[in-house]
Structures are given as structure tokens and as C-alpha cells.
């Protein structure tokens, strides 16, 4: 019984920390953007104030119950995804084949948001959702090829085994650099950063799917965005950078968990800052350009990475 309570408390702490870290990441992104524009920019804790303000606002938007439940759906889906992502080697839910499961549950929050904004019947939201789904179709192609190369090379579909085999700085990014490059390109679209911020283009379609959300709804969507920023960057860190696991928990115990968590935070920050810098200097693609781009260059690179993984693993017999 006591173990169960401790477990639940620990899980809640990890999820809460991840969401708070996500808000901090969004603040850092705003600061970096401002500095690139030669502005002073808001303080890094600005997004905490924003969320607090939004959740304290009165909200009287009425469409239908699907619209009311959609932000909750999105936030709950994002938290569920967080539970499946190893954060610094510590994972809350796990199982065999969870890499494939993760691909499916990562779509749930986005679909929830699409459902809600579709229910608002705003034409801008409809355009935004259509663009978001098309973009998803575009970046999933290189991303799935990348995952396939990882699965073939490491001969597993379990994230824990993947982390285990990458311990001691035998990171996948050193072994499969082409796949890592393709995955990072896909990540840019997954996070909807420029040049792929097509679905939420504020100057074209009035922030797309978010157009009808205000007040508390928008606050919840902001928390969802923060959680998802952590999910996406953390997925890249877990797949290619060893998930920040540098000390073996079975050997060093609780110190290993703390050190690994710190390293994980650092690596997430690095991946995030790279995306933010690309975001700061690029204009926006049109949706068909983004689609063409994704099915051309990242897909070719990912296919080369897949061939490399196949040759190394099956023909040369390299076993990590």
C-alpha cells in the first residue's frame, strides 16, 4: 500500500516537473526569439504568468460539449504520453513494443484538439486542422523510416531496451547520424516551429485551431503545448541521445536518478534551442511546399539511414 502511494506521488511529481519545464522551455524560446530580433524580450518565466492569467480569466464561450471537453482531452492525452516517455531513465508506464504504442498515443492529444476546434465551426479552425493533419502525414513518413532503422539496428521495439543499449555514451546519433538528421528535420514539423508553423499561422488564419479558444480553454491548451514540447524533444533525446542516462541506476541508486534527470534536462534544452534558432530565422512554408520537402529530402536521408542500419545490423552483424 505504502509503495503504491509513493509510486503515485512520484509519478505526479515527474509529470508536474515536466509540465513546468515545458513552460520554462516556451519562455526560453520567446527570449531567444526576442534576442535574435534585437529586442529585450519577456522574462523567461513569462509563460507561467500567462497560464496563470488565462486560468484566472472568466470564460463564456458556448459552442457544444465537444468544444468544452476538447482542451481537457488534449491535456489528458499529453499527460498520458508523458507517462510513457522515459525522463532521465525513469519511466512511469512501460511495456514491450511501447515505441509503437507511443506513436499511436502521441496522436491522441492532437486529434482531441482537432475535434474541439472542428466543433467550433469556425472556418479558420477548419483550415488549420486540415493543414495540421496534412503536415502530420508529411513528417510521419521520414519519422517512421527513422524509427524502423532504430528498431532494426537495436533489434527491439521497447524504449527501455533502447536506453539500456545506449548507455555509456554509445548513443545512436554517433552510429546512425543520417537517421538522427532526418528525425531532427521531422521534429521541426512535429513541434510546428518555423518553417513548418503552417497550421497555427497567426497572420494568415488567425492562429488556426486555437481561433475560438479563449480564457481557461486557452490556458489548458497552453499547458498542453508545454507538455508536448517536452514530449517531442524528449522523444528525440531518448531515441538518439541515450535519454540522458549516464549513470546506471542499479549501481548508484537515487544519485543516478538525479544525475540522469539533470542530464536529460540539459539534452532536452539543447534539442529545443536548436529548433528555436531555426524557428527564429526562417519564414513560413506553404503546406504543399512543406509536404514536398518532407517527402523529398528527409525521406531520402531517412531511407539512406535505414539502408545503413540494415547493412550494419544484418549483413555486417554489428550488435550493439
Amino acid at each position: 500500500m505504502m509503495d503504491l502511494i509513493i509510486d503515485i506521488a512520484l509519478n505526479a511529481l515527474y509529470v508536474l516537473l515536466a509540465v513546468a519545464y515545458g513552460l520554462l522551455l516556451l519562455g526560453i524560446a520567446r527570449k531567444i526569439n526576442a534576442r535574435v530580433h534585437n529586442r529585450v524580450g519577456p522574462p523567461v518565466y513569462q509563460n507561467f504568468i500567462d497560464v496563470g492569467k488565462l486560468l484566472a480569466k472568466k470564460t463564456n464561450i458556448r459552442h457544444n460539449w465537444i468544444f468544452d471537453l476538447a482542451p481537457l482531452f488534449g491535456l489528458a492525452g499529453a499527460l498520458l504520453t508523458l507517462l510513457y516517455i522515459p525522463m532521465g531513465g525513469y519511466r512511469l508506464l512501460s511495456g514491450d513494443g511501447d515505441l509503437i504504442l507511443l506513436l499511436y498515443i502521441m496522436v491522441i492529444p492532437s486529434l482531441g484538439m482537432a475535434l474541439g476546434s472542428g466543433a467550433s465551426a469556425n472556418p479558420n479552425a477548419g483550415v488549420g486542422v486540415m493543414r495540421a493533419l496534412t503536415l502530420m502525414l508529411a513528417y510521419e513518413m521520414p519519422f517512421l523510416l527513422t524509427l524502423l532503422s532504430l528498431m532494426i539496428f537495436y533489434n527491439t521495439t521497447s524504449l527501455s531496451v533502447l536506453l539500456c543499449k545506449q548507455q555509456g555514451f554509445r548513443w545512436a546519433i554517433f552510429v546512425l547520424p543520417l537517421s538522427a538528421l532526418a528525425a531532427d528535420m521531422a521534429l521541426q514539423g512535429m513541434m510546428m516551429k518555423k518553417p513548418f508553423d503552417i497550421p497555427i499561422a497567426p497572420h494568415e488564419i488567425g492562429s488556426g485551431p486555437m481561433v475560438e479558444f479563449g480564457g481557461k480553454y486557452l490556458g489548458m491548451l497552453m499547458l498542453f503545448g508545454a507538455a508536448f514540447a517536452v514530449v517531442e524533444t524528449s522523444l528525440f533525446v531518448d531515441l538518439f541521445l541515450g535519454g540522458g542516462v549516464i549513470l546506471n541506476p542499479s549501481q548508484y541508486g537515487i544519485i543516478a536518478y538525479m544525475v540522469n534527470y539533470f542530464v536529460w534536462m540539459l539534452l532536452v534544452l539543447v534539442v529545443w534551442v536548436i529548433a528555436v534558432f531555426i524557428n527564429a530565422v526562417f519564414p513560413r512554408f506553404r503546406i504543399e511546399q512543406a509536404f514536398k520537402f518532407y517527402w523529398k529530402w528527409p525521406t531520402v536521408i531517412a531511407a539512406l539511414g535505414l539502408a545503413q542500419a540494415y547493412v550494419m545490423s544484418v549483413i555486417l552483424g554489428v550488435v550493439p
Binding site: 520567446r30 526576442a34 530580433h37 534585437n38 529586442r39 529585450v40 524580450g41 519577456p42 513569462q46 504568468i49 500567462d50 496563470g52 492569467k53 484566472a56 480569466k57 472568466k58 470564460t59 463564456n60 464561450i61 497567426p202 497572420h203 488567425g206 492562429s207 486555437m210 481561433v211 475560438e212 479558444f213 479563449g214 480564457g215 486557452l218
Partner: protein, 171 residues
């Protein structure tokens, strides 16, 4: 912690994170870019432009309002979520300015929607706009920016004034 303390915290956060939707059908749209970009940078104070009225806290009305655009302004204002603030910008919004004898220009915006703050001038310079924003933040902290409460209290009068200008509400 009583209710007054919570309200104080809410006002503190409200003040540091003002998002605005600007209604720039008159003149004055040109004065906004220097305020947003690197010269004056209003994002220092957590302010930023927002795409839709649902997400915004401030309605910024720049320059004159024609009778036709007033209805759009009222609609935008009513779509915003409480607490919300209105800044009227330029002398046309106070007394008609250079359009004082025009047949289809609204002379005083305050009769139709509650204005929290006016910025005088034709046009006000970006310094004046920054000053107005800082003043609005101070007013919010002291709880004096209560236009949205006034609109609820005196809704009938505001609506009567609006209907005097519009022939029909739904056209």
C-alpha cells in the same frame, strides 16, 4: 487567503500578461510596429499582439470609427473574455478630431463601449503609446481599470446609445 488576496494576485498576473487585438481601420496602424519591434519592444512587459478577440485582453482602437465599423468594434468587444480593457487611441476617438463635422463618424467612443484609457494626439507617438500601456498596467494593479464591469452594469444605456447609431443590429 481571502477573496481580496486572490483578486490581487489575479490583477498582478493580468497586468504582466496583456494580449491585445488592435482594430486598425482608422489611421495609426503605422505607430504600432515601432512599439512592437526592437525600438520600444512591448514584449518586455509580456504584451503581444493576438490573432483573435477570444484570446485578447486589450482592445486597441486606433483612430476614427465610422458608423459602419462601430458595429464590428462592439462585436469584437463582446467576444472578448473578462476582464478586458479598451484603449482608445488618437484624438478622433475622443471628440471626432478632424472629422468633427463628418456625417458618419463616431465622435465619442466612450458612449458606445467603455474606454479605460485615452491616448491624446494626432497621431500619438510610440513613446505616448508605451506610456499609456504602463499607465494601464498601473491602473489594473490598483483595480481602477474596470470598464468591463461598467459595461455590465450600464449595459442598457450602452445598448441604447449603440442602437441610436445602427439602424439594425443584424445587418
Amino acid at each position: 487567503m481571502n477573496a481580496e488576496d486572490w483578486k490581487k494576485i489575479q490583477r498582478m498576473m493580468s497586468k504582466r500578461s496583456l494580449w491585445m487585438v488592435h482594430f486598425c481601420t482608422g489611421c495609426g496602424a503605422v505607430e504600432m510596429p515601432p512599439v512592437m519591434t526592437s525600438r520600444y519592444d512591448m514584449e518586455r512587459f509580456g504584451m503581444g499582439p493576438m490573432a483573435t478577440p477570444r484570446q485578447a485582453d486589450i482592445l486597441l482602437i486606433t483612430g476614427y470609427l465610422a458608423v459602419k465599423t462601430l458595429k464590428r468594434v462592439v462585436r469584437v468587444y463582446e467576444q472578448m473574455q473578462d476582464p478586458k480593457y479598451v484603449i482608445a487611441f488618437g484624438s478622433c476617438t475622443m471628440n471626432g478630431g478632424m472629422y468633427w463635422d463628418s456625417y458618419n463618424t463616431v465622435k465619442r467612443v466612450d458612449k458606445y463601449i467603455p474606454v479605460d484609457l485615452y491616448i491624446a494626439g494626432c497621431m500619438p507617438r510610440p513613446e505616448a503609446i508605451m506610456d499609456a500601456f504602463l499607465k494601464l498596467m498601473k491602473m489594473i494593479e490598483e483595480g481602477k481599470a474596470d470598464g468591463w464591469k461598467r459595461y455590465k452594469e450600464h449595459y442598457e444605456e450602452y445598448r441604447r446609445n449603440q442602437m441610436r447609431v445602427f439602424r439594425r443590429w443584424d445587418e
